[in-house]
């Protein structure tokens, strides 16, 4: 019995040992150095959102803060308006239809029928056919972004976009930084910002002059990507592709940008993403 008592005491001490971190200065402050001539791994935040989703502006704000912190080259937001229609549907008060069939198809594949909003994916990390580990709430995005930004860059990307004669033309080049033993696919899309249209806000009020940012407009490639490279690829290789799309005159060129990303089609993980203005 004595041994048992001694063991129990030891066990108690062992389990009680973990201390509690008491934080007196919660704000980090300072600035993050965003100046670097070398390309590093960037982050695409696919923010599933809706103009009748009252918590969605908070998610948009998180992206804005991350862009302010790390720079618009490293954090690339994309507002995906898909489902459910109770959040994204058009009504008299919310007359703009931001949804696209591609957005709905993406959500259906990565989540299911009726996702809770706001929710999103960062570089589509941790996808699996079981579970929702690839999805994260807005509060996870700062931590996940910090981790993704520090991760190894496996392929560098360069892209340029121009609009001429009603045609948007994009060219992209990829430069493997490590050996890539899987095929690569590329996705090229257009997004538009500074769209003024009503939005339901967190306090249940309607903001008629809300400015929508990073709205997914259309894809120049297939939603699920176009072949960009075939395994194996090694540093020194150059991958390239050109893509085009008839310009929709409803879109404001000055507020639009092209987003290009390459991903591993086996697990959908985005290896690199860049955003380029339209010339």
């Amino acid at each position: 019995m004595r041994k048992l008592f001694a063991f129990s005491t030891l066990l108690s001490l062992l389990f009680l040992t973990p201390q509690c971190d008491v934080v007196n200065q919660p704000l980090k402050g300072g600035t993050i150095d965003t100046t670097s001539s070398e390309q590093r791994r960037n982050v695409l935040i696919e923010d599933w959102t809706g103009h009748r989703c009252k918590n969605c502006p908070k998610a948009s704000k998180v992206i804005e803060n991350l862009v302010d912190t790390y720079g618009s080259e490293r954090i690339i937001g994309l507002a995906v308006h898909g489902r459910p229609s109770s959040f994204t549907g058009v009504t008299t008060d919310y007359p703009t239809d931001f949804t696209t069939p591609e957005a709905k198809a993406l959500q259906n594949f990565f989540y299911g029928n009726s996702p809770p909003l706001p929710i999103g994916m960062l570089n589509r990390e941790n996808w699996s056919s079981t579970g929702n580990g690839h999805l994260s709430g807005r509060d996870d995005w700062p931590t996940l972004s910090a981790e993704a930004l520090d991760s190894t860059l496996r392929i560098a990307l360069e892209a340029s976009a121009s609009l001429s004669s009603g045609q948007l033309n994009v060219s992209a080049e990829g430069f493997p930084q490590t050996s890539l033993l899987h095929d690569l696919k590329i996705v090229v899309l257009v997004k538009e910002s500074n769209i003024v249209s009503p939005q339901l806000m967190g306090d249940d009020t309607r903001d008629p002059d809300y400015v929508h940012m990073n709205v997914l407009r259309d894809y120049l490639t297939d939603t699920w990507g176009t072949s960009f490279g075939t395994s194996p690829m090694v540093p020194g290789d150059t991958l390239s592709g050109s893509y085009s799309l008839a310009w929709n005159t409803d879109w404001v060129k000055a507020n639009s940008a092209v987003v290009v990303y390459v991903f591993n089609p086996e697990n959908y993980r985005i290896l690199q993403v860049v955003e380029t203005p339209i010339n």
Binding site: M1, L4, F5, F7, S8, T9, L11, S12, L14, F15, L16, P18, Q19, C20, D21, V22, V23, N24, Q25, P26, L27, K28, I32, K54, N65, L66, T69, Y70, R83, P84, S85, S86, G89, N108, Y111, G112, N113, S114, P115, P116, S128, S129, T130, G131, N132, G133, S136, G137, D139, D140, P142, T143, S145, A146, E147, G202, D203, D204, T205
Partner: protein, 562 residues
Amino acid sequence: MKRLLLFTWVIFSAIGSFAQEQNTFGGQLHGNFQLDGQLYLRDESIDPTGEFYPDERFLGQGYANFVYSDGNFSSGLRYENYQNVMLGFPEGYRGEGITYRYLKFKQDGLDITIGNFYEQFGTGMVFRSYEERGLGYDNAMDGVRIKVNPVSGLSLKAVMGRQRFYFEKSPGLLRGIDAEYNLSKELFPKLDSAGLRWTVGGSYMSKYQRANDPFLVLPENVAAGGVRTQVSKGPWAMQIEYAYKANDPSADNGYIYKDGNGILTNVSYSKNGLGIIAGVKRIDNMSFRTDRNGSTIDMLVNYLSPTAQVHTYALPALYQYATQINGEEGIQLEANYKFKRNTALGGKYGMLLSINYSVVQSIDKDYVDPALDTLRTLQGYYSDPLIRGDIPYFHDFNITLSKKINTKLKLNAMYLNLFYNRSVLEDGLGDESILLNPDGQKLMSGDIFIVESLYKVRRKHYLRTEFQHLSTRDDRGSMAMALAEYSIAPHWFFSVQDIYNYGNPDEAQRLHYPLASVVYTSGTSRFQLSYGRQQRGIFCVGGVCRVVPPSNGVSFSLTSSF
């Protein structure tokens, strides 16, 4: 119909051949199995845009538990499949696999479990790991648990592990210990022999979660602890638990570093047909999860029991109370009295009268000016436990009479007055938002009348009926419900019901929600087939709730055990 009967017979024959205790390797093998499925039908009346209508017309899910025990050793596993998860359950359940497995043995005074386990410290304010299948809630631990009684009257529990997060694990790690001591038996034997029971207990739980936030210095180790005592003598019993949690900025509390605390007190008296229970609870910032960014019912470490009655009748169940983990205070009073037989009110068979009152509101919160960003983040708000909060969340006052009229007929009658703050309980609006715009609250108040009867038609034949009426001008408006169940023991059970939402402010939504079911039971196996409409609602168990979308279709359920 012949095909259906044949299908049912084949299934039951297969189960029947297995549905008996299995003796394997000298030990015993037990198990149970459940399979649910629904064929969804498009119903534009309840879902005009089709947002809830699944692309797959049929959704099904199931599980099977197997437990093997032999002397001091036991082991078990659970297989779950979601192909795909049914509407209303968390969509995190995608796919299939073994989600629960463990080995357990007792040796040298130690009770050791490795693998998955469920456990609770005290009332659960510091730690509770449990499963509630109807909710899709499962925060099973995966790790190690040790139980030991080092000296007489003292029991210790130590746990370490990660919680289940659907088919994955929580990012945070838990380590905790709980001790309970029977004070009266060991130190005050005279009190014990006089019938006084007194136990004291304490628990400690530490969470570790890595942090890499660019803006905030987040605590990676967060601790919570609690003390409790329980005293009983004769008809009286009293239970008090106090819990404290250190700074734990999270999505729930808006990333403030304020500490949390909670107190739960219950006093009860029971004698001569009279039972009284009084409960008081106050919690302040007691959200505790293994992922600081978790939400809804995901990865909760603790359990904060509701101070409200859980209703099983359909209409009150539409407005169940969900515990507000960021802060609430409430009381619950319940009194039961059984009028004796052969008295004026008791009549020939006696009568049971139950009165229940519960009320819950916000706690006092004096918010720090957002302009003071560091203090606002550190403290968030100040709260005085002696001052009542301004926002009413919920109240429920109900009276129930239960009386056996004669040898064939029993009656229950209930009146219920309800208040339900939809902005808080359905929309999850925070106190600060409500205080800034109190007129924007969506409130619901109403009265519900219920009459239930159970009539013995003849030997083994029973008819149960329910008539319910909700009278309100709020939310979906008034509703009436009728239900009839006919059971033929021990095999058959038939049920039809209809809820008519005749008072819906939207005339197009003044709909009927009919549901018909047939159940066949054979031994330990049960097969249920239902067809009907289900309106949107909130399904709660123990103060934890999930939203149920509207649906229409044919559903079935098969359960069996051996």
